[in-house]
């Protein structure tokens, strides 16, 4: 089956430090893959590399096409990237932020076609941001801003979506809505890769999980098989206690 994303033996250096080593994994259309690991494990770096920010050794295929050979304009319709923190800090209307997602489809002086505008509207609805579409981005709350940036990514309608901690700073209602949206997208054939710190969310909402530690792949498999005490425990230095409703983490020393 065709792969949405194929990462082979990828190695990344930032500054003089090797931040990722020998990372290989593939993502298929229709699945939600969680990227988990402690702070500094290299999760953000991995997503940024897939989104084309860093030079790397190895090979990355986006929808079967080598990432290295794609120009920014060719790459943008293939992959939508939602950063951990957007650098956007301009008082432009939220809807104009979402319209940025259609940039790669514009031509010449940059008017959007009706089908572009339709994609923008769908993204606004999917993220429940239509209500404040006309308000300046910088006057929105942090959670609202994150949803606007998510809407911008969805507006690209790329079939591969990578998100860096999308649920942090969302309230519980909005988090549930987010995972609902992502699941719907997956069922429509999109591939979704997302960094999650909340292991409960990973267990509940994702199909597979990739665990990173110190730049290396420690585990890859069904989320329930990765998020369990004997795998997670040593990496995070905690003891996971599962009960009927979920699990708790305790400092390892206590156990």
């Amino acid at each position: 089956m065709a792969k949405a994303l194929d990462v082979r033996e990828v190695q990344v250096e930032r500054g003089k430090r090797r931040v990722l080593q020998q990372i290989s994994f593939a993502v298929e259309y229709g699945e939600l893959v969680a990227l988990i690991g402690p702070n500094g494990a290299g999760k953000t770096t991995l997503l940024e590399t897939i989104a084309g920010f860093h030079s790397f050794a190895g090979e990355i295929l986006l929808q079967e096409k080598p990432l290295r050979l794609l120009s920014p304009r060719q790459r943008a319709p293939l992959i939508a990237y939602v950063p951990q923190i957007s650098r956007l800090d301009a008082p432009m209307a939220a809807i104009d932020v979402v319209r940025q997602g259609r940039f790669c489809f514009r031509n010449g002086f940059g008017g959007l076609s009706p089908s572009d505008e339709a994609a923008v509207q769908r993204a606004l609805v999917a993220t429940d941001t239509a209500r404040f579409a006309d308000r300046p981005y910088t006057e929105l709350s942090y959670g609202e801003r994150r949803r606007v940036v998510l809407a911008r990514a969805l507006a690209t309608e790329a079939r591969l979506i990578v998100l860096d901690e999308p649920s942090s700073s969302l309230d519980i209602g909005q988090s549930l809505a987010l995972f609902d949206t992502l699941r719907t997208l997956a069922s429509q054939g999109h591939a979704v890769v997302l960094v999650l710190h909340h292991l409960g969310e990973a267990l509940r909402f994702t199909d597979r999980a990739l665990l990173l530690h110190q730049g290396r792949r420690v585990a890859l498999g069904r989320t329930a098989e990765v998020v369990c005490d004997n795998v997670i425990g040593p990496v995070y230095g905690v003891k996971l206690l599962a009960d009927g409703h979920g699990f708790h983490a305790l400092p390892r020393a206590i156990s």
């Binding site: 989104a51 084309g52 304009r73 950063p83 956007l88 432009m92 932020v97 940025q100 790669c104």
Partner: protein, 312 residues
């Protein structure tokens, strides 16, 4: 309205029917030159501010204004001391070409730096250093020029900026450059709007950041060269006009570049009007007027946006 006033106001009476035609023609050329200069400076100001994601820069920060100025001065000097050197060029064309050459040299250096260093800080510092270098060299030329009173005066008035004595050839040369520059700014305003979200994110949304930066710098070079060749070094227009307009038109460059060109043109026409209308033995150089208005206005704008700047 400003344009009409510009044609009517000034030394010399319109009552004399013999002089009237000539005077009107001269003043019309002058108003056109003022408008074009202001439009080009303000528009390049807006582009540079978007490009460097910094509201406190203007074309002079890339060294292109100083470069154009130096190029023009060098040609003025060469025309005087080496009259046989540029035999095929009339002075009206030689000076603008000197400006263009100077601006492009400055931009070429800045671009070369941009290609190899990603850091904007380094680019800005390069522009700054180039500016100082060009200004000092200009000062050096000026002291050379003092040997002849006439040339010294021409150099001083050129470096202060002045719209007097504009020739139609100069207008014909600058007009297409400036119009093309403004259209290009409008064309690149979409990418500039995308850059508001930072280079990495803009790239992930499909922008070839290097290409956009290269073209914007080239067009800014053309516009500043054309502006300097018309009006000399007129300060503050590129800085305050975009600042003053953004509260009304928002931050989206596709609106800003057009509005700012019109506002900048009008502003310089009015300043030129002032420079002719104020009682004084000779005309007050327009660069002095824009400086006198621009500096306090800029301080005021800075003070008012202090809170935002603090945050950003």
């Amino acid at each position: 309205m400003a344009l009409a006033a510009g044609v009517v106001v000034g030394h010399g009476s319109l009552a004399d029917p013999g002089l009237r035609d000539t005077l009107l023609r001269l003043r019309a050329a002058r108003v056109a030159a003022a408008f074009l200069t202001g439009a080009a400076l303000a528009c390049s100001g807006a582009v540079v501010q978007a490009l460097f994601r910094n509201p406190l820069v203007d074309p002079s920060i890339l060294g292109s204004t100083a470069g154009a100025s130096l190029g023009g001065q060098a040609v003025l000097l060469a025309l005087h001391f080496l009259p046989g050197w540029l035999p095929h060029l009339v002075p009206e064309l030689a000076v603008p070409l000197g400006c263009l050459g100077g601006a492009l040299v400055a931009l070429f250096i800045v671009l070369a730096v941009t290609e190899h260093r990603q850091s904007m800080l380094i680019v800005l510092l390069t522009g700054f250093t180039l500016s100082s270098l060009f200004l000092s060299t200009g000062g050096f030329l000026l002291s050379l020029g003092q040997e002849s009173w006439e040339v010294g005066r021409a150099l001083v008035s050129f470096s202060l900026g002045g719209l007097g004595g504009i020739e139609v050839q100069q207008l014909l040369l600058a007009f297409p450059l400036i119009v093309a520059g403004i259209l290009a700014a409008r064309f690149w305003s979409g990418p500039l709007d995308l850059l508001l979200t930072g280079e990495d994110e803009a790239r992930s949304l499909g922008l070839d950041v290097k290409e956009a930066r290269r073209w914007c710098v080239v067009w800014v070079g053309f516009m500043t060269a054309a502006a300097v060749s018309l009006g000399g070094n007129i300060g503050f227009v590129g800085l305050i006009i975009p600042h003053a307009m953004r509260p009304f038109v928002g931050v989206l460059n596709r609106h800003v570049v057009v509005v700012v060109a019109i506002a900048g043109g009008t502003f310089v026409v009015l300043c030129d009007l002032l420079s002719r209308a104020l009682p004084s033995r000779s005309e007050i150089p327009i660069g002095v007027i824009t400086g006198l208005i621009g500096a306090p206005v800029f301080l005021l704008l800075l003070y008012r946006s202090g809170r935002e700047l603090h945050r950003g």
